[in-house]
Amino acid sequence: MKTKKSPKAIWWSLFAGGGMAAALALPALIIITGIIIPFGLEANEPMNFDRIHAAASHWLIKAIFFLLIALSFFHCANRFRYTLADVGLRSVGGLLSFLFYGGAIVGSVIAAVVLWGV
């Protein structure tokens, strides 16, 4: 029985990269924007516009956040697309792939544009 090698490997590797990046980086970021800043736990106003804007303008910061965000989009696309297939939408699998991976591509482009503009 011969079947073609599937390009699903591409989506899976993006999913795996996104999962690793999100697992490593997002929890700390969420604590910062969800607990530390709202409750004023930071000292010396590090979140002031000038400091943050200067940091975010650096190409390396932009590159890192782009990777984190884009990979997370692909991670979500792959995971959610398969979750939908697992609960009954298997017959429209091709359409789901197009919508979700397409969405992740669009999201990544938007991320690139937004980060470029900082």
């Binding site: 697992a23 969800g34 997370s72 979750t83």
Partner: protein, 127 residues
């Protein structure tokens, strides 16, 4: 062959506790993507100037924002711990004849997680 095919329910995942936790794990991806969209909004406001940026930072202090963050954290944290729990099973590495123990690989990832988290906090708030 008059073999009988039993019908499969789309609610199969409600039938066992392990299936339910699996589904929760899968749904964490929505919160992961959602938080990334939020990060992009912050960057966008940053690019729009000091007033826009101050607006979003002020919005973080609202109860709605804090509650959403806590829920998001719960899901993203669950993603992280299941991710690091499963990675050592996949990364089977041999050093010569000996297999590197799964516990060591897990410890490396958890350790790396702590280091990266501390680095991010330092970078964003202290550097």
């Amino acid at each position: 062959m008059s073999a009988y095919r039993r019908p499969v329910s789309n609610m199969w995942w409600l039938k066992r506790r392990s299936y339910i936790w699996f589904m929760i794990r899968e749904l964490t991806s929505i919160f992961t993507a959602g938080y990334c969209i939020f990060l992009l909004v912050v960057f966008y406001k940053l690019s729009q100037g000091p007033e826009a940026y101050a607006g979003i930072i002020a919005a973080l202090k609202s109860p709605v924002s804090v509650v959403l963050h806590i829920i998001t954290f719960a899901f993203v944290f669950y993603h992280a711990i299941t991710w690091f729990e499963l990675t050592p099973k996949i990364l089977v590495i041999y050093r010569g004849e000996e297999r590197i123990p799964a516990g060591l690989i897990a410890a490396t990832f958890y350790g790396g997680w702590v280091v990266v988290s501390l680095f991010i906090v330092w970078l964003v708030l202290l550097a």
